[in-house]
C-alpha cells in the first residue's frame, strides 16, 4: 500500500515538473549578447511596454501597434504634417472634383504585397469595405459614401459632403491584400501582409515581433535589414536593457530623460505631441456651472509649475485645450490664452459670488493614478489654489471607475487629458453637445450650439485660410467659456545609441529612413 502510494506520488510530482521542462521556445539569440556583425546585417532592437493584443490594423489603436504598422503597411498617400501636404505612395497622383464630392486616385502598377501579389485597385476597395465594418476606423472614413475601382489602377471615392481633412484621413487607411485576408479567414491577429518596406518574419504577441526588409518594396529596400520588438513590461527593466546594450532605442519616461541626455553613449530627442492635459470642469452642475468661477481658476493656475512637476519640464505650458501643434488651428500667437494672473482671478472669484476673505471649498478633484503624470498635477494645483484660501481635495480612482464617472458626469472637477488626432476636426468628438453622456465624448458636459455648427463647417471647408478662421473662432469660444482649462502639452522623449541615425516625428517613426553608422 505504502509503496503504491509512493510511486503514484512520485509520478504525479515528476510529471508536473517535466511538463514544465518541455521544449523552450526557440526565438532569436540570447538577449544578453550585443548585436554582432557589420552595420548592414545589424538588427535594430526596440521594445514594447505591453504585450500585443492583435496585429489587425483595424482592430486597435494602441501606440505600440502603430510602431509596427508604420513599417509594414501603407496608405494610398503619406501625409506630411510639417509640410501640410500629401506625398505619393501607393497612389502616384490624385485629384478632387470641383464640388469636392469625388476624389480619384491613380495607383502605381509596380506595388507588391509581402506575399508577392501585385496591388490592384480592388484591394483598395476591399480594404475600405473591411475598415468600414470596424468601429475604430469610422473617424478616418467619415463622409465617404462609396468606393469603386473603374480599373486596376484607379480608385474613386464618392463623398456625401466635402471633407476638408480627406487626405489626412485616407492616409490612415492601411491597404490590405484581398487574397491574403481571404486565405486567412479574415483573421489578422498574428499576420501582416502589407506593401510597406518591412515584412513580418515572426510574431509571438506576448514576447517578440520580428520584421525583415522587403526586397520587393517599390521605393527600394531599406538600409536596416532586421527589426525586433521585445515585450518588456517594466519601465526600469527597459531602461536597464538599453543601458546594457540589449536595446537600441527606447521611448523614455520623463524622469529618465536627464540621465540619458547627460550620457555620451546616447542621442536623445524631445518630440512634440498632440496631447493635452487639462482640468476638466463639469459645466452642467454646481459649482462649476458658473462660468466666472471657471475663468477665475484659469487665471489662478501657474502652468509652468504644473508642467515642471507633471512632465519634469518636458512639455509646453499653456491654457489651450487643443494642442497648438494640431493642423487647422491659427498660429499659437493669434490665440487668446490664460496666463497666471492672481489679481484677475481673485476679482473674477468675487464676481462669481465667492467671499475671498473666507475659505472656499470647491469639493473633490477626481483623477486616476494609473496615468501617473496627469495625477502628479493634482497636488500641485491643490497647493496653488490653497494659497488663495481655496480648498480642493483629491480623489484617485481606478481607471475604469474614473472613465465611467467622468463621461457620466459624476464629478465636479477632474484632471484628465488626451490626444484625439492630428487634425482639429477630430476634436468635435469631445466638444460636440451630442456627445454628452457618451463614453469617450464630451466629458465637460458642455453644450454650445455655436461650436457644434462651427465644427461642422470646419469639416467641410476646403479653403485652408477660411478653415483656420473657423477653428480660430472655436478656440475663442473655448477661451471665453472655459469648459476645461489646458495645463500643458507633453513631449515624447526618446534615447538611442550613438551609432544609430534615427529621427522621430510626432506621428511616430519610419525605420525605412534610418541607418546604422558604418
Amino acid at each position: 500500500m505504502k509503496k503504491k502510494l509512493g510511486i503514484l506520488l512520485t509520478l504525479l510530482l515528476s510529471i508536473s515538473l517535466l511538463v514544465g521542462c518541455g521544449g523552450n521556445p526557440a526565438s532569436g539569440g540570447s538577449a544578453a549578447s550585443a548585436s554582432a556583425g557589420g552595420a548592414d546585417s545589424r538588427t535594430l532592437r526596440l521594445s514594447a511596454n505591453a504585450a500585443y493584443s492583435t496585429l489587425d490594423p483595424y482592430a486597435t489603436n494602441a501606440l505600440i501597434n502603430f510602431e509596427i504598422w508604420n513599417q509594414t503597411y501603407e496608405g494610398l498617400i503619406f501625409y506630411d504634417y510639417d509640410k501640410g501636404a500629401a506625398e505619393p505612395r501607393i497612389a502616384k497622383t490624385w485629384e478632387m472634383s470641383d464640388d469636392g464630392l469625388t476624389w480619384t486616385f491613380h495607383l502605381r502598377d509596380d506595388v507588391k504585397f509581402h506575399n508577392g501579389e501585385t496591388l490592384k485597385a480592388s484591394d483598395v476597395v476591399f480594404s475600405y469595405n473591411r475598415a468600414s465594418k470596424a468601429g475604430l476606423m469610422a473617424t478616418y472614413l467619415t463622409g465617404i459614401s462609396s468606393v469603386t475601382a473603374p480599373d486596376d489602377t484607379t480608385v474613386e471615392f464618392k463623398l456625401s459632403s466635402p471633407v476638408a481633412p480627406f487626405l489626412q484621413n485616407i492616409a490612415s487607411l492601411f491597404i490590405l491584400n484581398e487574397k491574403f485576408v481571404t486565405e486567412k479567414n479574415d483573421d489578422l491577429t498574428s499576420s501582416i501582409c502589407g506593401t510597406g518596406p518591412y515584412m513580418l518574419s515572426s510574431a509571438d504577441l506576448n514576447t517578440k515581433i520580428e520584421l525583415t526588409a522587403f526586397d520587393g518594396y517599390y521605393r527600394g529596400a531599406p538600409s536596416i535589414k532586421t527589426v525586433t520588438w521585445d515585450v518588456i513590461t517594466d519601465a526600469t527593466s527597459q531602461s536597464m536593457a538599453l543601458e546594457a546594450g540589449d536595446l537600441d532605442l527606447l521611448n523614455l519616461a520623463f524622469s529618465q530623460y536627464s540621465t540619458y541626455a547627460a550620457n555620451d553613449k546616447f542621442t536623445t530627442a524631445k518630440v512634440p505631441t498632440y496631447h493635452t492635459v487639462w482640468v476638466t470642469f463639469n459645466c452642467s452642475k454646481a459649482p462649476f456651472n458658473n462660468v466666472k468661477l471657471r475663468q477665475a481658476i484659469a487665471y489662478l493656475l501657474n502652468r509652468d509649475e504644473i508642467v515642471q512637476a507633471t512632465f519634469e519640464g518636458l512639455g509646453d505650458a499653456d491654457s489651450l485645450l487643443i494642442s497648438p501643434n494640431i493642423q487647422g488651428l491659427p498660429d499659437k500667437s493669434a490665440l487668446k490664452q490664460y496666463t497666471c494672473d492672481p489679481d484677475k482671478g481673485l476679482a473674477l472669484l468675487k464676481e462669481a459670488g465667492y467671499d475671498t476673505s473666507k475659505e472656499i471649498d470647491l469639493g473633490v478633484m477626481r483623477t486616476y493614478p494609473e496615468n501617473h503624470y496627469i495625477t502628479k498635477a493634482c497636488p500641485i494645483i491643490q497647493a496653488q489654489l490653497a494659497k488663495y484660501n481655496i480648498k480642493l481635495s483629491i480623489e484617485p480612482m481606478e481607471v475604469n471607475a474614473f472613465v465611467q464617472a467622468i463621461y457620466g458626469g459624476d464629478f465636479t472637477i477632474a484632471m484628465s487629458g488626451g490626444s484625439y488626432g492630428a487634425d482639429a476636426s477630430m476634436y468635435n468628438q469631445i466638444f460636440n453637445s451630442s456627445n454628452i453622456g457618451v463614453t469617450g465624448g464630451n466629458c465637460f458636459q458642455w453644450s454650445n450650439s455655436e461650436v457644434d455648427a462651427l465644427f461642422e463647417q470646419g469639416a467641410r471647408e476646403m479653403d485652408a485660410a477660411k478653415r483656420q478662421e473657423i477653428y480660430g473662432k472655436i478656440m475663442d469660444i473655448l477661451y471665453n467659456e472655459v469648459p476645461g482649462t489646458g495645463v500643458g502639452h507633453k513631449y515624447n522623449v526618446y534615447a538611442w545609441t550613438k551609432d544609430l541615425n534615427a529621427t522621430v516625428t510626432p506621428r511616430g517613426f519610419f525605420i525605412y529612413d534610418w541607418s546604422f553608422a558604418q
Binding site: 521542462c21 539569440g29 521585445d230 475604469n400 463621461y407 488626451g418 468628438q429 463614453t439
Partner: protein
C-alpha cells in the same frame, strides 16, 4: 485510498462553480466596460458600443453566465475580448512559463531553506543559528521587485552574465527563480526551524537518544519526519499561490505568464480571460492541495491507516 482520491477530484466541481460565479459577478459589478477599457476612452463612441455588442456584454447577467458555463462543460473557455483568440490557447502558451518559475522557485526555496532551518534548529543558539535568523527575517521582508531589479542591475547590466528579459533560453529563468526563491527560502527556513525545534523537544526524541541511536539517525529518521507535516503544508500553499502567477516577478523580468495575463485581463475588463485564468489557478491550487494531503498519508502512518481503513 482511490475512493478518497476520486472524492477529492469530484470536490473540484462545486469549487469551480463557486469560483466562476463569484468572479463573473465581480467582473460584472466592477465599473467600466470592455469596449472602453480595450479601445481606450478616446475611441469613437460608436466603436465602443459596437465592441460591447460584439462580445455580448450588453446581455443580462444570467444569460451570459449560463452561456459561459455551457461553454465550460464543453471545455471551451471562450475567446479573449482583447485579442479575439481562444482563451485556452493563450493560457496554454503562458502556463508553462508560470509553472517553470513556480516549480523551480519552490525547488530552490526548499533545497536552500529547509536544510538551513533544520541545521539552525539542531545547533540552536550557535553563531550560525543567530546569523541565519537575522538574515532570514531580512530576506523574507525584501520586496520581490526590489530584489529582482537589483539582480538585473548587477547580473545583467554590470556583469553582463544573464539576460534581463524574455523567455528565449534557460538562462532567462535563473534570475527570476533566484529572486523569487530567496524570500520563499527564508520563510521555509523559519518554518523548518520552528517545527524542528518543537519536535526535538518531544519525549520520544529523548527516548531515541537514550536508546543510543546516533545523532544523525535521531535527527533525520525520527525528528525530521515528524516535523515535516507543517513544512509540507507551507510548501503546498506557497506553490499553489505561485501557480497563480508570481505577478511582480513576471512584470519585472517581462516573462509572459499567467499572472500578467490575469492583471491585463482585469484592467481590460476581459471577462473571458479573467475567468479562464482564475479557473486554471483554482484547479491548480486544488490539485496541489490534494497532492499535499496524499503526502501526509505517505509520511504519517497514522493518517495512512485512516485512509486504508
Amino acid at each position: 485510498m482511490y475512493k478518497y482520491f476520486l472524492k477529492r477530484i469530484l470536490q473540484l466541481i462545486p469549487v469551480l462553480i463557486g469560483v466562476t460565479f463569484i468572479i463573473f459577478f465581480l467582473m460584472t459589478l466592477s465599473p467600466g466596460d470592455p469596449g472602453t477599457a480595450i479601445l481606450g476612452a478616446s475611441a469613437p463612441p460608436e466603436a465602443i458600443q459596437a465592441f460591447n455588442q460584439k462580445v455580448g456584454y450588453n446581455d443580462p447577467f444570467l444569460t451570459r453566465y449560463g452561456r459561459y458555463m455551457v461553454g465550460l462543460l464543453k471545455f471551451d473557455l471562450g475567446n479573449s475580448y482583447s485579442s479575439g483568440q481562444s482563451v485556452s490557447g493563450e493560457i496554454a502558451a503562458r502556463f508553462p512559463t508560470t509553472l517553470k518559475i513556480a516549480a523551480f522557485g519552490m525547488l530552490f526555496a526548499v533545497l536552500v531553506g529547509v536544510p538551513l532551518g533544520i541545521f539552525s534548529a539542531v545547533k540552536q543558539y550557535s553563531a550560525l543559528d543567530n546569523a541565519a535568523r537575522v538574515i532570514s527575517i531580512t530576506l523574507a521582508a525584501i520586496p520581490f521587485f526590489w530584489l529582482g531589479l537589483m539582480m538585473i542591475y548587477w547580473f545583467s547590466l554590470k556583469l553582463h552574465l544573464l539576460p534581463s528579459f524574455g523567455i528565449s533560453s534557460w538562462k532567462n529563468f535563473i534570475l527570476p527563480v533566484v529572486s523569487l526563491g530567496i524570500p520563499y527560502a527564508a520563510r521555509q527556513m523559519r518554518m523548518a526551524r520552528s517545527c524542528m525545534l518543537e519536535t526535538i523537544r518531544q519525549d520520544y526524541v529523548r527516548t531515541v537518544r537514550a536508546k543510543g541511536a546516533p545523532e544523525k539517525v535521531v535527527i533525520w529518521k525520527h525528528a525530521f519526519k515528524n516535523a515535516l507535516m507543517p513544512i509540507i503544508t507551507l510548501i503546498g500553499t506557497q506553490f499553489g499561490m505561485l501557480l497563480g502567477g508570481a505577478i511582480v516577478t513576471e512584470a519585472v523580468f517581462s516573462m509572459p505568464g499567467l499572472g500578467t495575463y490575469l492583471i491585463t485581463g482585469i484592467r481590460a475588463k476581459d471577462v473571458n480571460a479573467v475567468m479562464g485564468a482564475t479557473i486554471v489557478m483554482a484547479i491548480s491550487f486544488c490539485l496541489v492541495m490534494l497532492v499535499v494531503d496524499l503526502c501526509y498519508a505517505v509520511i504519517d502512518p497514522r493518517i495512512k491507516a485512516k485512509y486504508a481503513g
